[in-house]
């Protein structure tokens, strides 16, 4: 799949932008603080309805603007035909409104399924180094495209955890038991799906890390309180966990078991990267994870997602840079940013010079 065109209206430092993109590599280059990352952020927002900078929709609006818009035309190549869809997100102070081909989609899910991006941004480094919640969200998004109804399971699970927390504080044992029992199959499904996903991503990420990006053995493991092989075993494990940890849950006023405590463990040659990774290693591990996600998506859907690589080259030595660019040029569409246009010299790549002359950013071909 690829993004054929992108339009922005009053987004960040763009008052208006219409740009045609190539199906392969596209490099946005230019000096610092010209609006390169803003472009990728807009694409990421178009696809996921979340900013990779972790801010809410209105924060994307240009300074002083009451309304803005991101629009993209997505082309998907099937075996014998290609189809295109127009995705639009209108943004206002109140939030966002999405349309698919000009119409309100049947569900947000339908909208989200129509464009998959995987993105690498230096600001995502916390994925490796810090919060487990980011790692869980990364996995959840990855699962979603293979199992769209998973988004509902995650939602129901989170809502049930909140209810259980309230029940623990209210103090009725029987009510706690009911909500625990309701949570059991939901928790087991979330853990199972994420664990399957990690099993699929693991070998891919390890191969990428060792051959292309770094050297050493990158390992992904899914860590969960729950034990067991299949869904049934996970369910009985969670049932027992909820029972065992109820007293502590009552004391703390929140339940102490469930997939909200799970985590994606990332190791390098057996050592936990959260504790021991250098910046450079963290960066490479994150890249391996993101590219593995793209590969798994292709295995399942038969086409690559759109790859967003923000400032990917900095801090990489020349050998790794070249190896990475070789690899990326063999994938589908990639949108890259860099201050240095030689990143892609000698390769088939569309170049866009991004410049903000003071009255908003503009693109020169």
């Amino acid at each position: 799949m690829f993004l054929k065109s992108l339009s922005l209206l009053s987004i960040r430092n763009y008052s208006r932008l219409d740009v045609e993109l190539g199906p392969g590599m596209n490099l946005f280059h230019g000096g610092n603080a010209q609006g390169k990352t803003n472009l990728l952020e807009a694409v990421s927002f178009l696809a996921s309805l979340r900013s990779f900078r972790g801010v809410k929709a209105p924060a994307l609006l240009a300074w002083g603007a009451a309304e803005g818009m991101v629009r993209g035309e997505v082309v998907r190549e099937q075996a014998h035909s290609s189809s295109s869809r127009r995705l639009t997100v209108g943004i206002s102070k109140e939030g966002r409104r999405v349309t698919l081909d000009g119409k309100k989609p049947g569900s947000v899910r339908e909208y989200l399924l129509s464009l998959k991006v995987v993105s690498f941004s230096p600001e995502d480094l916390f994925l490796v180094r810090e919060y487990p919640a980011h790692r869980r969200r990364f996995l959840d998004r990855s699962v979603f495209h293979a199992h769209p109804s998973y988004i509902d399971v995650v939602g129901r699970c989170a809502a049930s955890v909140k209810q259980l927390n309230a029940a623990l504080r209210a103090g009725d044992d029987k009510v706690m038991e009911s909500w625990e029992e309701l949570l059991v199959p939901l928790a087991a499904e979330v853990t199972l799906r994420r664990r399957e996903r990690v099993a699929g991503l693991g070998p891919r990420a390890a191969a990428l890390y060792d051959s292309t990006l770094g050297s050493g053995e990158l390992g992904l493991t899914y860590r969960s309180q729950a034990r067991g092989e299949g869904k049934d075993e996970l369910e009985s494990s969670y049932r027992e966990l909820f029972r065992k940890k109820r007293a502590e849950g009552i004391r703390r006023g929140s339940c102490q078991a469930g997939p909200q405590f799970d985590d994606l463990g990332i190791t390098l040659s057996g050592r936990d990267m959260r504790l021991t990774a250098s910046r450079g290693q963290g960066r490479l591990a994150l890249l391996a994870l993101v590219l593995a996600d793209a590969e798994v998506y292709r295995d399942e859907q038969g086409e690559y997602p759109v790859l967003l690589l923000d400032d990917v080259a900095s801090e990489l030595d020349v050998r790794r840079r070249d190896a990475l660019m070789d690899y990326v040029s063999g994938m589908g569409q990639a949108l890259l940013t860099s201050t240095d246009e030689t990143l892609v010299s000698g390769r088939d790549c569309r170049l866009f010079l991004v410049e903000d002359t003071g009255d908003g950013a503009a693109i020169k071909l």
Partner: protein
């Protein structure tokens, strides 16, 4: 706007599903209509609050001790269908196919909203089963999180008693089309498939 009109508009606007505009239209209609209509509406409102009360057994609405269903000797008293609201009872009753009794919970258990079992009539249901004569309790709470949790709660509460507890099925709506069904319903329908 005149004070009396404003007052009525305000009262109408408190009702569920009625916005400011509709409230105004209703109030103006009353203003135009004859005095009899206004008096009969007012009387109906007051009668509902003064004469109607919950059925001693099932909490359905009634003017007597027992509601029309509970006092009907032709009903099958070995079955109790448990619903959240009176409107659910009315929906099932409209099918004219169910011949057993009901139990209206008057809500669903939701700790977040501070609604516990004692804010529903779940305890009264257990009392009814305890008294004997009930062979099956059919749980027809809504298929959402609260409804499911409430069904689980009641299942647990009825465990000590010799009574069959069943849950209504999940599946496709009749006359519906697969392509328009939400995926949650479709998945449940697939899980609940039967050999033909």
């Amino acid at each position: 706007m005149s004070e009396t009109l404003e007052r009525l508009v305000g009262e109408f606007a408190k009702l569920p599903g009625i916005g400011r505009k509709t409230a105004q239209r209703l109030a103006l209609y009353i203003l135009k209509s004859g005095g009899d209509e206004a008096r009969s509406l007012a009387a109906a409102l007051i009668d509902l609050k003064e004469k109607a009360r919950p059925c001693r057994e099932c909490s359905n609405i009634t003017e007597e001790e027992l509601c029309g269903v509970c006092s009907d000797t032709r009903r099958d008293t070995t079955r109790i269908l448990v619903v959240e609201e009176i409107s659910d009872l009315m929906a099932v009753e409209a099918t004219r196919e169910y011949k057993g009794l009901y139990h209206v919970l008057m809500g669903a258990i939701s700790p977040i909203d501070g609604i516990g079992p004692d804010d529903t009539t779940a305890g009264k249901l257990v009392e009814r089963v305890k008294r004997g004569g009930v062979e099956e309790v059919i749980l027809a709470t809504n298929p959402n999180l609260r409804g499911e949790a409430t069904a689980l709660y009641i299942t647990g509460a009825l465990k000590p008693y010799k009574v069959k507890v069943t849950r209504i099925a999940y599946g496709m709506p009749m006359g519906g089309a697969l392509e328009y069904a939400d995926s949650g319903t479709l998945i449940k329908s697939l899980e609940g498939r039967r050999e033909v």
